[in-house]
């Protein structure tokens, strides 16, 4: 079905869960007032990104009051949001929730925690171990958290699992000032567009803005149609609320024109990956 998604390009405060929840509630209220069906927040929207030793302080169980509040709000608008999740066995995950009709529809735990360059996630966080598509009011979705998307297999698995819409929640730092556009922005734009094109999927990409210790997050949240075409893109380096009118017909037509996912040979892929795994195990 057609639906309206809002990409909430916000600037969370580092380590301030209460302040961020208030900001998130404002964004939800304004998206709702504008008639949106779904609102997507960035990675770690509830806590900020460069948490380091703050991880255990800002972590929340999925039955924490802040999460229950968001679940309550999802009765009127579907919500995808990133936070630090604390589990019963005291592991801390970089997680994303998909909330709808007052319930948790899906929980994704970031699988690929980057540790190169300016990143240090694996030091502080536990690694997720699954990519699963899930059903929503708007069709079958898959969720990725930032670095997850740089692994082809992640999007591929979600698409093979039937997802036709990929949500990517991001906290992408700005770097690269040599080219016509920001280095990290153009890399992401290529990635989201190519992923949409290869997998005949829509991509809803939400990236945060603001600075943490001199590192800028560049925003540029975007809706990419299954053709790979960028339909709408948010402001660079400024807070924004990006409204995407997502059209069901465009997805159907694209899948008729380019039936790559229909023709994708799961058997060949499994056979070859199985062989590679066996050979590596030797």
């Amino acid at each position: 079905m057609d639906f309206t998604a809002v990409l909430a390009q916000i600037k969370p405060k580092l380590g301030c869960v209460a302040d961020n929840l208030a900001l998130i509630e404002e964004e939800i209220a304004s998206a709702q007032a504008a008639g949106a069906d779904l609102i997507v927040f960035p990675e770690l929207a509830l806590s900020g990104y460069f948490l380091k030793d703050l991880v255990p302080e800002v972590a929340r169980r999925i039955d924490a009051p802040e999460i229950l509040r968001l679940i309550e709000l999802s009765k009127d608008i579907s919500i995808a949001i990133g936070f630090v999740e604390e589990t019963d066995d005291y592991h801390f995950f970089n997680s994303a929730l998909y909330l709808e009709d007052g319930a948790i529809r899906h929980l994704h735990r970031k699988v690929y925690l980057p540790t190169y360059g300016l990143f240090d996630e694996q030091r502080y966080l536990a690694r997720g171990e699954a990519f699963r598509a899930f059903d929503t009011k708007f069709g079958r979705f898959g969720m990725l958290i930032c670095e997850d998307m740089w692994h082809l297999s992640a999007s591929y698995i979600l698409a093979m699992d039937g997802a036709t819409t990929l949500l990517c929640l991001s906290s992408s730092p700005a770097r690269g000032i040599e080219g016509d556009s920001l280095g990290s922005a153009s890399a992401w734009q290529k990635l989201t567009s190519t992923t949409a094109l290869f997998l005949n999927c829509r991509v809803l990409y939400c990236n945060r803005v603001g600075f943490e210790d001199g590192v800028n997050f560049w925003g540029g949240s975007e809706y990419i149609a299954p053709s790979g075409e960028s339909v709408v893109r948010g402001a660079l380096m400024e807070t924004d609320q990006v409204t995407a009118s997502v059209n069901e017909g465009a997805l159907r037509r694209e899948r008729i024109f380019s039936p790559m996912m229909r023709d994708e040979n799961l058997f060949v892929t499994m056979q070859e990956l199985g062989r590679i795994a066996r050979e590596r195990g030797r």
């Binding site: 405060k13 580092l14 380091k52 000032i177 040599e178 800028n216």
Partner: protein, 273 residues
């Protein structure tokens, strides 16, 4: 060459945004900086004026009796061009009072003392004006260690510490820094006729090309030599970076507990901001 050509629109947006965001998030609206008459501090003044409005930027020129009078004139020109507040605090009485006790001190000690004297004035004005001190060291100087620890290297925020001198020139052109300040030879201005490039023994443009490849692109020494850089030049710059690394780190703390500051007690400075 093209590697060091910055997209100045983008760079300007980033650096102006940096100053605006990082200053305001700590509940402050003013900044203070030393304006030497040189290009680095001129550029920082322009960035700050655009970020916070010129009324919230306080530039202080702190000449010593041996400083070239042209420097103060250029500082004044820059302040006027970007509209920031401007004052002059000469450091001659304080510095001379000290060196009356150590009259045989060499130029290095004198230069360092002057840089640290200026630092104390800026941080005093930080308290006076409720203003954060902006740093004006560029990436070239920081990597080469061509600065005084706890002197000109001290600041609360440094907008230009990740851009090379070559990029400082480009952005200064784009932001309208007065041409005579862009065109003049860079100098620490410790004595008449001193220039950075003479003292360092190479030009900024030369060393920036090398530093960009060595540091940013992580070329190996063999690749750098194959790429046309003199082997001795590569070695000497590598040594300069290594030997000045202490200037770019916090003081080393002897570890005795489970949570030592900055080693296993790790928080962003923007913690709670």
């Amino acid at each position: 060459m093209s590697a060091l050509v910055a997209n100045t629109d983008l760079l300007r947006k980033l650096l102006v945004g940096f100053v605006r965001d990082e200053v305001r998030k700590v509940g402050v609206s003013n900044v203070v900086l030393g304006l030497s008459g040189g290009i680095d501090s001129a550029l920082v003044a322009f960035i700050a004026a655009e970020a916070l409005g010129p009324d919230n930027v306080h530039a202080i020129c702190m000449p010593y009796k041996s400083s070239n009078p042209e420097s103060e004139a250029h500082a004044r020109l820059v302040a006027k061009a970007c509209g920031v507040n401007f004052s002059v605090v000469p450091i001659t009485p304080m510095v001379d009072a000290y060196f009356d006790l150590f009259s045989d001190a060499n130029n290095m000690r004198r230069g360092n003392k002057m840089a640290r004297e200026r630092m104390t004035i800026l941080f005093d004005h930080s308290a006076l004006l409720r203003a954060l001190v902006l740093g004006t060291s560029n990436k070239t100087e920081l990597l080469l260690g061509y600065g005084t620890l706890y002197g000109d290297m001290a600041s609360a925020l440094n907008p230009i510490g990740d851009i090379y001198k070559s990029q400082v020139w480009q952005l200064s052109e784009a932001m309208g820094v007065p041409q005579e300040v862009i065109d003049k030879k860079p100098s620490a201005d410790l004595w008449a006729g001193q220039t950075d490039e003479e003292e360092l023994g190479f030009s900024y443009r030369q060393v920036d090309e090398l530093l960009y490849r060595m540091v940013d692109q992580r070329w190996t020494k063999a690749e750098l030599v194959a790429g046309g850089f003199e082997s001795e030049f590569v070695e000497s710059i590598y040594d300069k970076i290594q030997n000045s690394h202490f200037k770019r780190r916090l003081p080393v703390i002897a570890k005795v507990s489970n949570r030592t500051i900055d080693r296993d007690f790790r928080y962003a400075r923007d913690w709670g901001k």
